[in-house]
């Protein structure tokens, strides 16, 4: 694990409303929702974070803004990881899409939209991917009951 590199990345990324820290082997950055796309662009062009690993969200129903949206990136040049995290409110859970930077964002954003209802501004293709057309609600939200069933074809009596 390259601690010196992680710390220099942390120092470069901190500031401008971004909070950066090194935790459990990666740089964790918390930032405002409108800063995600410019920061991701900077990560890709200046710091060689060329692999988008993961897009997901975390639901905190008691908190406002309610959702964390989380991205993980990897640099195939420096072998380090970085996490971007932003908060979005339940009333308007929107962040910018990263499909202009990473092809792999297509499916991951669709999954995140499926599961949490996070909308990605600029991604026109947010069709259901793990769920099916017409599925109601977002199952990974804490207020979605685990036992709720929505069979597409009704069960045999």
């Amino acid at each position: 694990m390259n601690t010196a590199l992680l710390e220099s990345l942390r120092d470069k990324l901190a500031g401008d409303g971004r909070e950066a820290s090194v935790a459990h082997g990666l740089v964790a950055v918390e930032l405002a929702a409108n800063a995600v796309l410019p920061t991701a662009t900077r990560l890709k062009t200046e710091h060689a974070f060329d692999l988008l690993l993961d897009v997901t969200a975390v639901d905190w129903p008691q908190r406002e803004p309610r959702f964390d949206v989380v991205w993980h990136f990897y640099s195939t040049r420096d072998f380090v990881r970085i996490r971007l995290k932003t908060r979005v409110p339940a009333a308007d859970p929107v962040v910018d899409t990263l499909i202009s930077l990473y092809g792999s964002a297509h499916f991951m954003e669709r999954e995140c939209h499926d599961m949490y209802g996070i909308r990605f501004r600029g991604n026109a293709d947010l069709r259901p991917i793990l769920l099916y057309e017409g599925f109601e609600g977002h199952p990974l939200r804490k207020d979605y009951p685990k036992r709720r069933e929505q069979p597409l074809v009704s069960y045999r009596k």
Partner: protein
């Protein structure tokens, strides 16, 4: 009763771009799509013009289910992600929780996990290559490879008690140590592997029919592979030597001597060959690990996560309470979040966990290589023949369990 069944998917396109083109639907009820992937393809004669790939038919709410079980109880669920190499899932998950708890596993556990992870990788690659060769009609090669895989399954059953879904990892260690004589049998199986792998090389590598079907088909460039999030053997087949075992060594990989095989063209043939070479490297690593394996306990002595010995549970009250609390409340993982990734047989397998300080995860997300790989499949299918979809799809080694979760 209505005969009209609702369509679970909405295709990206329904109108061909040319009057002479036709749109066909392939799968999900097709053995070559593993019964889970649906490909809507526009064809110009036999040539694929564009494709729209759908997954999710096996979605079973893995992440939702994890949020209502203790950290320990969901180990059997992670088995069922990539069921061809369940041990790697076990160890990656346990490593993630251990990282958040600040636990350092015992030396014997570290080497044993490395050994078993490589053994699982061997089984996974054998399955992938065997299945994709069989889809091309190479029945003999299939049987050779699956014979070895079955030896491995039986052999892993001796240590874990199950053939496929092992649930053998534990937070802080392993379920049990190796049974007597296990390493001797391991040596025999690896010898037999050399024999059978040699025969498969002889049957396939310079086989004209095989080369015609595989060379220059499903080509992926290095830049494309990185852009579409490919990791593991598919990324390496394009010539990018990225391997987490080498780049950010975990477990005991830093102490092992091994190479990272890469391809030259990123086509189906390279994906076959990279996997064949990786199996040789895994065998090489297992031989080293058999020599290095130290004595000692396989689980840490940490009462926060490891069950006390049964004898003590029945004889002293502290151990009884400890056992009870670990079973009912689960291991108390400190509040926080962490992402840990292992190099699974398919690529980067990452677990992102968020804990609120209790015995059940607040959130658990699995970064499954197969799901990410499905996103860029159209880059390997578009422009080739309809019949190439089967070998190309086979060479990706999509595992429905981890793709759809």
């Amino acid at each position: 009763m209505s005969t009209e069944l609702p369509n679970p998917i909405r295709p990206a396109f329904t109108v061909p771009t040319d009057d002479g083109h036709v749109i066909v639907n392939i799968g999900p009820s097709h053995p070559a799509t593993h019964g889970t992937i649906q490909i809507v393809a526009e064809l110009d004669g036999e040539r694929v013009v564009r494709t729209d790939v759908h997954c999710g038919y096996l979605h079973r709410g893995f992440e939702k289910e994890c949020e209502s079980h203790t950290w320990h109880n969901l180990i059997p669920y992670v088995d069922r992600l990539n069921y061809c190499s369940a041990l790697i899932n076990n160890f990656a998950y346990c490593d993630t929780v251990e990282t958040l708890m600040g636990i350092e596993i015992t030396p014997r556990c570290r080497y044993l996990r490395t050994l078993l992870a490589e053994y699982s990788r061997l089984a996974d690659h054998l399955t992938c290559i065997a299945a994709s060769l069989m889809e091309l009609g190479a029945m003999t090669a299939f049987l050779y490879l699956v014979t070895i895989r079955d030896y491995i399954y039986e052999h892993l059953a001796d240590v874990t008690g199950a053939r496929v879904t092992y649930s053998y990892g534990r937070i802080g260690g392993l379920a049990n140590d190796l049974p007597p004589g296990w390493l001797e049998r391991l040596g025999q199986i690896l010898e037999q592997y050399e024999d059978f792998a040699g025969r498969v090389h002889g049957l396939m590598d310079r086989n004209r029919i095989f080369i015609d079907r595989m060379r220059d088909v499903g080509v992926l460039t290095p830049a494309d592979a990185v852009n579409w999030g490919y990791t593991g053997p598919i990324l390496r087949s394009t010539g990018v030597p990225r391997d987490l075992r080498k780049d950010t060594p975990y477990l005991a990989y830093a102490e092992l001597d091994f190479e990272v095989p890469v391809g030259i063209k990123g086509d189906n043939y390279d994906r076959y060959f990279v996997r064949m070479r990786e199996m040789d490297e895994s065998v090489h690593m297992i031989h080293q690990l058999m020599e290095m394996l130290p004595d000692g306990p396989v689980t840490v002595d940490d009462r926060r996560c490891v069950l006390p010995e049964k004898q003590l549970v029945y004889t002293e009250i502290e151990s009884l309470i400890n056992h009870f609390k670990l079973i009912i409340d689960g291991p108390q993982v400190p509040a926080g979040e962490c992402y840990v990734a292992h190099e699974s047989a398919n690529g980067e397998l990452g677990f992102y966990i968020v804990s609120d300080g209790t015995g059940t995860p607040w959130k658990l997300h699995c970064r499954a290589p197969s799901f990410v790989h499905m996103c860029g499949v159209h880059r390997m299918l578009d422009g080739y023949q309809l019949a190439d979809i089967v070998p190309t799809f086979g060479s990706i080694n999509m595992i429905g369990g981890e793709c759809d979760r």
